[in-house]
Amino acid sequence: MKYSMQIFRAAALVVAAGAVGACLPLLITSANVLSLMTQAVIYAIGTLGVGFLLRQNGHVSFGHAAYYGLSGYGIVLCSKFLGLTTGPAILLVISLTGLFAFVVGLVIVRTPGIAFAMITLAIGQVFYILMAKARGFTGGVDGLVVEMSEKIFGLSSNLFGKPGSMFVVCWLTLVLVVFLLSLLIRSRFGALTEAIRENEERARFIGYKTVVPRAAIYTVSAMVCALAGTLSSLYSAFVSPDSLHWSLSGSLLVASLLGGTSLLSGTVIGAAVYFLLKDVLSEVTTHWMSIIGVCLIAVIVFWPEGIAGGLSRGARKLRALAGRS
């Protein structure tokens, strides 16, 4: 399929998915269910960031919660010290996150495998401790209330606190992020980063510098996580050090592995499954994480490409069977 045709198809899917999501709050009347769905969608955006990094760079990050959590603090501190309204503060925070992640990325993407994971863990925990200890600025472990201006990007700030309207905002953001990331993956740059992931030395010997593209992927993934963190802090109107803890990075990683990273939809499915399992199982037992652990092992053993990869393989087999008969 030609590239232009692929874009057209993806754009059509985006419009359809956006429309379906926008209609859901009309069909679901329970505020609790809508709230759960809103949180799941925010979580899915964060998972996309971590999954995208794994897919394009082959890097496992245990530190992306730092970008998730810092964005909330950034919005509060920009309002407090720079006098910015919430909209410009969001733009500034996400841009600064990108800049910071790029500089960090230039250094850390050179490290392979487990060393990269450990460095990201260390960076994430540094910010977690910083936010927990700097009481004067951050409110310490008590966190901060996110005070919003009356309007954010022309929308009433009340919309961001109500489950129904916030679900639509988050859903449309998710659809847009998936669309933009899929364009990036299908672009020449996406193919190059895939090649670098596959064989970095060969990529250099066919004439490509490899550090900057890898740092750029790291940057994009950090910005996506910052976007998720922004939505989360707007929805709850609160931010605390918990949102920077490594366990959040770990759960985003588990969700992306559950869904599978070969397809972008996989990370979204993974996030939805993880969130649902967490909600249902935590009602039953405090040891819900061990059950999710068993599920993760089962998925990795039976469907190494994740739930989405397994479903896609199953669909291919069914199509082949239907073709034969």
Binding site: E194, A195, N199, R202, R204, G207, Y208
Partner: protein, 235 residues
Amino acid sequence: MNEAYALEVENLTVRYGGVVAVNGVSLKLKRGEIRGLIGPNGAGKSTVIDAISGRRASTGKVLLDGREISSLNVVQRRWIGLSRSFQRTSIFPAMRVRDQIKVAAARIPDCDVDELLEEFGLVPFQDKVAAEIGYGDQRRLDLSLAFLGKPSVLLLDEPMAGLSSEESRRLADHLQNLTRNWGVSLLLVEHDMEIVFGISDVVTVLESGKLIAENKPDIVRADPHVRAAYLGSAA
């Protein structure tokens, strides 16, 4: 500096701690020439290729088309026309054959992906993931990546490794044709002596990191020093 030479190496030395792996090797490769680089295991053949391509730190001078490239990194050397292959097949396993050639060709002006696929017999596999094609086809894909953009000099490190004798012969003929038609100069490290002596214009022999002979294949083959050091009954 002589512009008749595509590659000039002067006094190339590579040290691994206290061990001198390559000791003051000098060689000149004419345009369109195929140069065989032979020697026993551990003679330093692959290290010479690593040093020329910038993969391994070295002292001495390396000139490509008369321009000194000793201080350039591997990426810069590739862009000005120095390419290489590796002992082990070095491709992008999870990518489709066509996609990886497209990526590699993206920044090369007037690079015809279809011509390259055709030239290396990759058309039947172009939509397959590289990991799923046969070893011989992967080897050809590897070579196509190295030949991309018709480099001035190509360093090939055991390109026939793992191929059957029939496949090796076909590949040797192909390499000979490509160097002629595309004007690429070739430095070839290979253990198959029949192939090396069959297609090389000049053969250079290394022993313990030192150059011990350099001449036309027939003369090198008859050189008693070379026979004693390496060729033995293979000659």
